[in-house]
Symmetry: C2
Subunit: 202 residues, 2 copies
């Protein structure tokens, strides 16, 4: 029998972490449907039935992988969130470089978001909401910069927020597809600089 039960032992916690790590790598490389439980279990060093003890269904595993990734992305965003207005946008110029530091997490995000574009599921809602929150963060920074007089009064925060999100996302895809030949770090820095130059008050 199984059932995650109340208390977990150190050994179990380590296994859980190893499974999550293996699952993240394989989901990132082959997608959710492309990576089988057996392949993930093998990568983590146990049998598929052993894996199922820790995560009752494949979907539970996916949700746990997403949750772990979300927590890490939140952490990566902390230095951005710590700032306001123009300073926040300037810090975001470095976010391309931040993403280059973790290719697996970046590929996971691209793959899973594309795989859950339309279906009505928990994963789809997660991505929809995450994009909404990210755009709201940027739109708020543009508004603050405008209110502070650091950027032009006639800028459109919603459009600027969506476009800045888009560049980061699109660079991610090209960076992955070109195997690093297209620079996320460089592209993002150039974009943010350009936005600030264009929107600087006359």
């Amino acid at each position: 029998m199984n059932a995650p039960a109340g208390t977990r032992q150190p050994r179990g916690l380590a296994r859980r972490a190893a499974i999550l790590d293996a699952a993240r790598r394989l989901f990132a490389r082959q997608g959710f449907k492309g990576a089988s439980l057996a392949a993930i279990a093998q990568e983590a060093g146990l049998t598929d039935a052993g894996l199922i003890y820790h995560f009752p269904t494949k979907n539970d595993l996916l949700l746990a992988v997403i949750e772990a990734g979300d927590a890490e992305q939140d952490q990566a965003l902390a230095p951005v969130r710590a700032r306001r207005g123009l300073a926040l946008l300037r810090r975001l110029a470095e976010f391309g470089a931040d993403l280059e530091a973790d290719p697996v997490l970046t590929a996971l995000d691209v793959t899973l978001s594309a795989e859950h574009l339309q279906e009505d599921s928990k994963v789809n809602r997660y991505f929809v909401q995450r994009y909404e929150r990210f755009r709201a963060l940027l739109a708020g920074a543009f508004e603050e910069a405008r209110a502070a007089g650091d950027l032009r009064a006639d800028l459109d925060p919603a459009v600027e927020a969506a476009n800045m999100t888009a560049v980061l996302d699109g660079l991610r895809l090209q960076w992955l597809l070109s195997d690093g030949a297209v620079s996320m770090a460089g592209g993002m820095r150039a974009y943010v600089e350009g936005v600030i130059a264009r929107l600087s008050p006359p």
Copy 2:
């Protein structure tokens, strides 16, 4: 027995087209791995064995779907290619609106490119090369605009090309995920205008 043979009858050609259409819709919605041959066959109004007569393997079907999509995208790009330099870039401002006209083809592209990010396959190579060609088209236009004195001499064509491609791609994803709330057409127009404003000669 089967085998595509030399001559195809009108009935067969119509069926082929119906299968390609159904496959495009289902691949776009559920991805290559997510859409089964049986589901595609049902959508096209025949059995899976009937489908296999027209496309011997699922991968053959995928390649045919991609080829058909590529041809349509080439057609959509014709008005862009017909121009040079700054005029080409200005025409590209309307490309977001062009993509909004075909949500299925747009979703197909996002889904399949993400699904074939890393694996070494014909589909992966197709996307890698298509992005290279698209960036080369834009980089060439930036160079021409610079040479003609329409844009600043110190612009970086490679970075501008990658970033413009990125915005289009990223907007595509947000447009799909937000169910149209984020406007591809508006975002792309704003971006191109902004680039031209920023890079206009002093």
